[in-house]
Symmetry: C2
Subunit: 412 residues, 2 copies
């Protein structure tokens, strides 16, 4: 089963919006075991949308057309599909009522343009909308099919998961289910990770199910994705559970989270489990670490606050950093113990370093000292980080969170 994606919208071609819809659909198709060999962006032009749809139908079994279902004159995906199918558009009375009622319920005036959203190519099935006002379409073309979904990401995602993927799988006659799980890692380069997991990778390649793929994700580390293809969901889950255990045995505490779990969420969980509160002192990160931690809902239960001591005088006065260079072991130690004390927290973390663009106190760009104070002890670690100012700051933030995560794990 092969399915193209056609993203429709002139703003996509002009670089005004990044086409993240195709990326999301591509990932869902891959997980569902459907091949997507071509993905196309085309503007709001009838002749060209028709051409793009025809080309996609010629090379694939299915096409997901994304966008151009709104109420304005620019939204012509319905017309284009009708032309490809060589059928007329018919205004669906039930859809007309639905659009009218929606406007009435919101107390808003409806222009007649909105009724265009009730137009359906003859022979097509409607995918009822649950968010927004634009219904989707399932349009059979011989033994092939065109799906139309809205361009608004949340509306599109909901409709693809609810109606498009199940229809695609039914058409493909696939009885296998496909399920994946992602282990998120920090602290090993891709080559080192590949070496550690190597033997397991070879064994799996011989067996063929589940499979493993690496995905380097920059400042979020490297993801290890396990994909299982079995007869049913329970069998998939059993395969994923078994493989996760195998990989965790090899990778140990390099794995910090599963699927969407962020580093800050992992730290939050460990702090809550240990019943500990946290205080920070940040220098080169300027607030990045605090911002990440407070992105976790409920952070006020365990996060006391952060002293962003960007100016050296603030480090000395508020945190008790001794006179001398502020990118140093002594400074990181004092920032960790000082933040715990000033913020009345159980655990104190401090980070100081040189983000660039120029060196500082004779220390090269990328030099970072991280301090940790916990259980009456304090120590500091030095790392040398690569990249430009932004990357060094981001790497410093996640490195500091990872240091805390490992220490909390070790404390258990």
């Amino acid at each position: 089963m092969r399915c193209d994606v056609v993203a429709i919208g002139t703003e996509l071609l002009l670089g005004q919006i990044v086409d993240t819809n195709s990326e999301w659909i591509g990932e869902q198709l891959a997980i569902a075991g459907v091949d997507s060999h071509f993905q196309v962006k085309v503007g709001d032009n009838l002749r060209r949308i028709v051409l793009a749809l025809r080309e996609s139908l010629a090379r694939s079994d299915a096409v997901i057309a994304c966008g151009g279902l709104g109420p304005t004159q620019d939204d012509i995906t319905r017309e284009a599909i009708a032309e490809v199918l060589n059928v007329p558009l018919r205004r669906d009375p039930a859809l007309v009522d639905r659009v009218r009622n929606m406007f009435q319920a919101r107390g808003r005036q409806m222009s007649d343009n909105n009724l265009r959203q009730a137009d359906v190519p003859e022979g097509a099935t409607i995918i009822p909308q649950v968010r927004g006002t634009a219904p989707g379409l399932i349009c059979p073309v011989g033994h092939k099919v065109i799906y139309a979904v809205p361009g608004v990401p949340q509306e599109m995602e909901e409709m693809v998961l609810r109606a498009v993927l199940p229809d695609l799988q039914a058409r493909s006659g696939a009885t296998a289910t496909i399920r994946s799980r992602t282990l998120r890692t920090w602290g090993l380069a891709e080559s080192a990770l590949a070496e550690v997991v190597g033997p397991r990778l070879e064994a799996l390649e011989r067996a063929g199910n589940p499979t493993i793929a690496f995905l380097a994700s920059g400042i979020e580390g490297i993801k290890v994705r396990i994909t299982a293809k079995a007869g049913d969901e329970a069998a998939d889950r059993a395969l994923l559970d078994a493989e996760e255990s195998e990989l965790r045995a090899l990778l140990g505490d390099v794995v910090f989270g599963v699927d969407d779990e962020t580093m800050e969420a992992a730290v939050a969980r460990l702090l809550i489990d240990a019943g500990l509160s946290l205080g920070l002192a940040e220098s080169l990160t300027g607030g990045l670490v605090g911002a990440r931690l407070t992105a976790v809902p409920g952070a006020s239960d365990w996060f006391r606050g952060s002293i962003v001591a960007y100016d050296s005088a603030v480090k000395h006065r508020l945190l008790g950093v001794p006179d001398g260079p502020v990118v140093s072991e002594q400074a990181a130690l004092a920032m960790a113990t000082g933040s715990a004390k000033v913020l009345a927290a159980d655990v104190g973390l401090g980070v100081t370093g040189v983000a660039g663009p120029t060196e500082q106190d004779g220390q090269p760009v990328g030099t970072v000292w991280m301090g940790l104070a916990m259980d009456g002890e304090a120590d500091a670690v030095r790392v040398q980080l690569p990249g430009d100012r932004d990357r060094i700051r981001q790497f410093a933030a996640i490195s500091l969170l990872d240091l805390l995560r490992r220490r909390l794990l070790g404390r258990k």
Copy 2:
């Protein structure tokens, strides 16, 4: 002149990487006045790359093929172009030397695979690489042309600007130059902005040059892009300067920056001009404001630091916030004056509010108080922000920076 973009890489189709290259190229083509009607993603498969290139050549005058020029077996863009052109690949001796020398200079072992980067389809011109190891290609096909550029964004961007766009413009015989400038705004909704600029927009639509477009950019406000098309660069610049003045007269201090200038850079410039230092007190933003300000190189000249007082006790103890509700005018005022005092700064800013997911002290989610202390006076402003936890925090951060920006402007 019409130019397709073909982005090559299986990881693009699987949703593992967002194709930002096509977006960037699309924007550059639009600015250069070249139409880009179709943009395609295709995987690392010879037959399918060949098909995508042929289809693009059939409907357009030029194709930019992006990616697949590296040294590995997956990188087969050179082979695909040779097949489309129906010519052999020839190994270029000068390129071979260059690749060898690069490895020698870095003291690294070179595998023979790397020499594939010296393969050139017969009749093609080389675009010498200045970053990375992969040269680009200009491959004429009759009166049409295929360009090949690397998939690494920095290498691609440099090569497109240096070699591809000039070649495209020379081929199109275009004598007009196109240049655009973007005014970045904060504080007006798109409909209000359109109303203010309305009369100017109508006048320009009649004249046709320059043109104006709005681009809603979420938490970065709304961009107003002016595009001028004239006989030469000086004439373009004169048109842009004149139009910028017209728009600034209508929009006033709603415009915070031009082109890539961020809100934090605008604030930094104003603080430096005024010779003032800044201290912060953040609550719901958790460090976001400090992180944005310290992203500006040289921030240590004017940024003292931030007290991220997430815990109420920290607000009371460190910042002198009076007992009582911490999402309030009194709290915002105390945070502003307290931060200036504790951090020994000329200007103090404070922000407190309810990011959600649940209400706090009877205040609904999205309630935000911002305080500003400067020149011996302090006041506070209340805003009600829309969206989820992340959006409220981001909106609060830029709103606070904008408040400071307007006050610094008013002080002049």
